[in-house]
């Protein structure tokens, strides 16, 4: 089988507050809502994902941190209760997900071929990280599309940001190759927040939106500058500025998901669609989509 393709990539951050605000049956704590603008942004993203009808969702999460290489979930079904270690009051979620093990193995092999240390996670009692679960719930609460989960190797923190992101670039290119070779129609999810400065105290109740706003103006300005470039399709400029953005806005994209996704997509210079932006405990979160399938169609029609 060949001719697989990446249909789209989404910037899909993972504050557990969004799941908490939505009150799905899987989540034990209940809220009076909150963070509506971001949750409605995800509603638009969900609709778009539904129209794409992908075979598989690939998600790279900063909360599965690995030291020895890049790891891939490799157990056909994983389930359990995910309790967020930082916000256990907001997120205690019963999950069950199916893994596309064949694609995960192909990604792992392609990453190894490209010179990375790559490993398959085969322990059935493994606890899937809360970043992966939150992003997947927000994008597809039905849990009916198989998943490939990738860890965040700590290279951007252990080495320099630039060296670390170079590894993520290699990982992205390898991921694309594996998708093409296995014939999958895939959607990529980069589970990253933008500006990551946050408040240190939670309001009571946590969903009191009168207390929610950007942590600081400089971080907000950085987010808007980057989003504006992404909306205009100025991908090269985004990546030129990325290390400075990471440094000055403490941006979570440092962990590599965003670079992995763009490398896999071939750094397309197409406008990203902003589904919405909002803050969560002061951090900046954008839900954005780069729809390659649509761009290819437009290209063919022109």
């Amino acid at each position: 089988m060949a001719d697989g393709e990446i249909l789209a990539g989404f910037l899909a951050p993972h504050p557990p507050h969004l799941v908490y605000g939505e009150n799905p049956p899987q989540n034990e704590p209940k809220s009076q809502g909150g963070w509506e603008q971001l949750r409605w942004a995800y509603e638009r993203a969900r609709k778009s994902l539904n129209d794409l009808k992908p075979d598989v969702l690939l998600v790279h999460s900063p909360h599965w941190i690995t030291q020895l290489g890049h790891h891939f979930l490799g157990v056909p079904t994983l389930s359990g209760k995910s309790v967020d270690p930082i916000f256990p009051n907001l997120f205690r979620y019963d999950f069950k997900l199916d893994v596309d093990v064949e694609l995960a193995e192909a990604c792992c092999a392609a990453a190894a071929d490209a010179g990375l240390v790559a490993k398959m996670m085969r322990n059935p009692r493994f606890r899937v990280d809360y970043g992966t679960i939150t992003t997947l719930h927000m994008m597809r609460p039905q849990w009916d599309i198989p998943v490939v989960g990738l860890s965040a190797n700590n290279s951007p923190y252990y080495l320099t940001t630039e060296e670390g992101l170079e590894e993520m670039d290699v990982l992205g290119r390898a991921t694309r190759k594996a998708i093409e070779q296995t014939g999958r129609r895939a959607v990529l999810l980069a589970s990253n927040t933008l500006c990551h400065y946050h408040f240190h105290e939670e309001p009571d109740p946590p969903e009191d939106m009168s207390r929610e706003h950007p942590h600081d103006y400089a971080g907000y300005q950085w987010d808007m500058r980057m989003i504006d470039l992404m909306r205009r399709g100025e991908t090269r400029e985004v990546f030129r500025l990325l290390p400075q953005f990471i440094d000055e806005a403490f941006a979570e994209v440092k962990s590599g998901a965003f670079t992995w996704m763009f490398a896999a997509m071939g750094y397309p210079e197409i406008p990203g669609e902003l589904h919405g932006y909002g803050t969560v405990i002061g951090t900046g979160n954008a839900v954005m989509e780069w729809n390659l399938a649509k761009a290819r169609e437009v290209g063919r029609a022109a």
Binding site: W64, I65, T66, Q67, L68, G69, G80, K81, S82, V83, P85, I86, P88, R92, V117, K119, M121, R122, N123, R125, F126, R127, D129, S151, S155, Y158, H198, H200, E201, E202
Partner: protein, 271 residues
């Protein structure tokens, strides 16, 4: 005397999961010797700080009365599972939350089924507490706290235990030098990955043994930076804070490599 024993121990699961691997066997033996010393000191409670329990907002204290389950490490899952069965000293942990507020540190209790207990705490409990099942009061590592705040937390916790008439084993779970092998190694050939790290580790252990407390504190910051020490070596601050910057010396029960990083089992003699 409230603090009847004090230990700095590594939180990596590898020696527990592969005790027969020659480079790790000394750590296992060291952990066993520390466990015997702990039992001999007969504490009412283990007062624990683990670098791997990361908190971001508040200082968190575990208050779930009974913690049991099977944990799988996110890095070393292929080496096996980590079953655990622990009791919390809820009364002490709750009093520590109140005590935090008195010293200006915002704090919260954690009492949730399925809350992810960190690998370091589980490894320590398996080695040191074993079947005794003495209760624990476990504090998180808030990443925004510096060494000084960590020391104040430990001092407050010891005072709180004293007010409850309890004796404690003071325990800090964390590693030494942090340079690791980033490609697969033959674990039977494991060694400290960086020669400078090795010198630094040995110097710090000598300062602990000789109770050169001022010198130890002076060098800790430089050591943390130069040798990529786990969490800036805040676990040492937990020990020093809990001991009131005063101890008579230390026994290094073991020192060795774990995938290139440094690990030691150290027992401090409270003054």
């Amino acid at each position: 005397m409230t603090v009847v024993s004090a230990f700095l121990v590594p939180g990596t699961p590898l020696p527990l999961l592969r005790p027969d691997n020659p480079p790790w066997a000394p750590l296992v033996a060291g952990y066993q010797a520390a466990g015997e010393a702990l039992r001999a000191s007969n504490p009412d409670v283990l007062l624990v700080y683990s670098t791997q329990w990361i908190a971001v907002l508040d200082e968190l204290w575990q208050t779930r009365a009974h913690l049991t389950g099977i944990h799988v490490d996110e890095n070393w899952y292929e080496y096996g599972d980590l079953p655990f069965d622990m009791q919390s000293d809820v009364e002490l942990a709750e009093a520590c939350v109140a005590g935090c507020k008195e010293i200006g540190v915002s704090a919260k209790t954690v009492d949730y089924d399925g809350f992810p207990i960190d690998t370091g705490t589980i490894v320590m409990n398996n080695f040191l507490n074993g079947d005794d099942a003495r209760p624990l009061a476990i504090a998180a590592n808030n990443v925004y706290h510096d060494g000084e705040t960590t020391a104040r937390l430990a001092a407050m916790a010891v005072e709180t235990a004293k007010a409850q008439g309890k004796t404690v084993a003071l325990i800090a779970v964390g590693g030494l030098s942090g340079t690791i092998f980033r490609t697969e190694i033959d674990i039977a050939e494991d060694h400290i990955a960086d020669a400078t790290d090795e010198e630094w580790n040995r110097e710090m252990l000598r300062l602990m043994e000789s109770a050169s407390i001022e010198h130890l504190k002076q060098r800790a910051g430089d050591y943390a930076k130069a040798a990529k020490v786990d969490m800036g070596f805040k676990h040492l601050s937990w020990i020093l804070g809990g001991l009131g910057d005063n101890f008579d010396g230390a026994t290094v029960h073991a020192y060795g490599p774990v995938y290139g990083s440094g690990a030691a089992v150290v027992e401090f003699r409270p003054a």
